[in-house]
């Protein structure tokens, strides 16, 4: 998977900027112990770095010092080589996207107004702002025409969070800070939002610093994971693979938790697996032709795509009636190609096809992953893990992969998330 990431990066120009923290400390007034104690750190341009740690470890304080919501007691922070104190604080913040839990949308402003705040502060003209809003809504998978004039309370939690991400991206900032961005939504929605963030990042290559308390989220999203302990002392700062395979100390070991070799399941992305390519059809195709193509391929069902190659549905052949293919009723849950195998298993279990549709950038169709491919892969990993265990016994290796599979509660996201 690392090879794939590197080719990715070559294809795209990195628009992010490097962030460096140098000997940064924060002591809150009236407190003895520093909340953040002399942290030095470099966040490479164009990467996602996940700050993870128990509550009170100083991860949020560290994050908020980057956009100066909290001023450090000592030390310097620079973005793109420039000290953040060189600019006026409000101007600095306009160049840093900020996304917090639940989206934190302003309830008295429409979706479009919420997104256009920073562009307007920066003096963009009206038509440019309007185009940008539509572009961003499209990017986060919301139909602009349908959602731009809605108010936050008319959106589901997941939709609000998407708008929150769009708002953070609005003025195309090189750096985006996220504070528990997906903490307020249910597990299935969270998984989809994570997938979307990865897909957006594949396209934009921002520098993203994201705070979470969830090690699984950190491993899934991060190019690097920063594990912090009390006082924002760095327990480990490395790629997810290294964090999982060789925790730097007991704290990191405990935090990553038992069964780390199995946790690597969540490192395996769908992109690492071979996708099946069943029969596809476009809306408007002749039903008879599609049917004969499917029968020739030996498929009992077809995947219907829209004019931008985004999957709309996965009907069985018997469901194809009428002369032309029409947009199927009922919604499809797709998986982003960066989704983990855990996610894939979750999604397949709610699908009737024993498989799941995989999408890439901007929800474009890539193929189908089926149950057997995943289980074969898991078995292989399991064998690897066992050989590893024999070499160096690790806790939790007796855990069966099936115990990782869980059905998360569903919400309106299942039918409302991807309209349009």
């Amino acid at each position: 998977m690392t090879t794939m990431e590197s080719t990715d990066k070559q294809q795209h120009t990195v628009s992010g900027a490097e962030i460096t923290l140098d000997g940064v400390s924060k002591i809150y007034r009236g407190q003895q112990a520093p909340a953040v104690d002399n942290i030095s750190l470099t966040v490479p341009a164009g990467e996602i770095v996940m700050f993870v740690g128990p509550s009170g470890c100083g991860k949020t304080t560290t994050l908020k010092m980057i956009n100066r919501l909290i001023e450090p007691t000592s030390g310097t922070i620079s973005i793109g080589g420039e000290n953040i104190r060189a600019k006026k604080v409000d101007e600095l913040r306009r160049t840093i996207g900020y996304v917090i839990q639940g989206g934190s949308l302003f309830p008295h402003m429409s979706v479009a107004k919420n997104i256009s705040i920073v562009p307007k502060l920066l003096g963009w003209n009206t038509s440019r702002v309007k185009d940008r809003v539509d572009e961003l809504l499209d990017l986060v998978g919301l139909d602009a025409a349908k959602y731009r004039d809605r108010y936050p309370r008319e959106l589901s939690g997941g939709q609000q969070q998407r708008v929150g991400v769009a708002r953070g991206l609005a003025a195309d900032p090189p750096v985006i800070l996220m504070d528990e961005p997906f903490g307020a939504v249910d597990p299935i929605t969270r998984q989809r939002l994570q997938d979307e963030l990865l897909s957006i990042q594949r396209e934009l290559h921002k520098t993203i610093v994201c705070v979470t308390h969830d090690i699984d989220e950190a491993i899934k999203l991060g190019d690097r994971v920063l594990i912090l302990q009390e006082g924002a002392h760095v327990a480990q700062y490395d790629t997810p693979e290294v964090v999982l395979s060789s925790p730097a100390n007991d704290f990191a070991q405990d935090f990553v938790g038992a069964g780390s070799s199995l946790k690597r399941l969540s490192l395996a992305r769908i992109a690492d697996l071979e996708l099946k390519t069943p029969t596809t059809a476009k809306v408007g195709d002749s039903t008879a032709q599609v049917r004969s193509r499917a029968e020739a391929n030996g498929d009992g069902s077809v995947i219907v795509l829209d004019d931008r190659n985004r999957p709309l549905g996965w009907p069985w052949l018997r469901q194809l009636t009428g002369e032309k293919i029409v947009q199927p009723s009922g919604d499809l849950i797709n998986l982003d190609s960066r989704a983990t195998l855990n996610d894939a298993l979750d999604t397949m279990l709610v699908s009737g096809h024993g498989g799941a549709v995989v999408t890439g950038d901007r929800d474009a169709y890539l193929g189908v992953i089926d149950f057997k491919t995943v289980t074969d892969f898991i078995e292989e990993m399991q064998r690897e893990a066992e050989t590893e265990t024999k070499a160096a016994p690790a806790a939790g290796s007796d855990e069966h992969p099936a115990s990782r599979i869980s059905i998360a509660p569903t919400d309106e996201e299942l039918d409302g998330g991807r309209e349009g």
């Binding site: 956009n67 919501l69 409000d90 101007e91 600095l92 913040r93 306009r94 160049t95 840093i96 900020y98 917090i100 839990q101 639940g102 934190s104 302003f106 309830p107 008295h108 402003m109 429409s110 705040i117 920073v118 502060l121 108010y151 936050p152 309370r153 708002r167 800070l177």
Partner: protein
């Protein structure tokens, strides 16, 4: 009664207009004063209990007593009426503005600041619009209360419908005494209803659809 009103309709309308004018002006002043005070108070947490205590004590002072206290300073007439009505009008708005501003979710304020909104901008574009429905309900209470205070202020020659109540009182036993007092009282009730409706309308027009109840 009907003939009485028809005969004096011009004076009645002038009085009603003056009454409304006094109350609206006082409530406008009061809104500005109360919102400014509330902004100050919510920024200085230590002052807040004091502000609440003062506003509770202020509401306790009978308006007739306040008018008596003001008279040596502001004299008979419009100014005393305006100051007295404004004083009472400030208190409910202040209380609600404090509650409303405090009710703004801290995460939203942090978001606004984090996006690069300056502090005054955050106040004007985030905090006040979000607190507005609560402030507005304080204004409605103020408005109703001010109608009655304005009537009493007529005793010290303040403008408005209250004058006829006192005129009726001085003519007790005369044939028009009841007519004067009754038409003025009903006039004030009607005016209160009309202004309340008008305020509801203003409220609807000035409250974002996203936070409307």
């Amino acid at each position: 009664m009907w003939d009485f009103v028809v005969d004096r309709r011009e004076q009645l309308l002038i009085n009603a207009w003056n009454h409304a004018y006094l109350v609206i002006l006082a409530v406008l002043f009061a809104t500005v004063i109360a919102v400014v005070l509330a902004v100050v108070v919510t920024r200085l947490p230590k002052v807040e209990p004091v502000a609440n205590a003062v506003s509770a004590a202020g509401l306790t002072i009978p308006s007739f007593a306040l008018i008596g206290l003001l008279l040596p300073v502001t004299g008979l007439g419009d100014v005393t009426a305006l100051v007295a009505v404004t004083f009472y009008a400030v208190l409910p708005i202040l209380r609600n503005a404090i509650v409303g501003l405090q009710g703004v979710e801290p995460g939203l304020v942090e978001s606004a600041r984090g996006m690069g909104m300056s502090e005054p901008m955050t106040l004007l574009r985030i905090k006040l619009p979000l607190a507005w429905p609560v402030i507005l309900s304080g204004i409605r209470v103020s408005l109703q209360m001010s109608m009655g205070v304005a009537a009493i202020a007529a005793y010290v020659l303040g403008p408005g419908l209250g004058a006829w109540i006192f005129q009726g009182l001085t003519q007790v036993g005369g044939k028009n005494a009841v007519n004067y007092a009754l038409s003025a009282t009903i006039g004030i009730v009607l005016l209160a209803l009309i202004l309340d409706l008008a305020l509801l309308l203003v409220g609807r027009l000035t409250t974002s659809k996203g936070v409307r109840v």
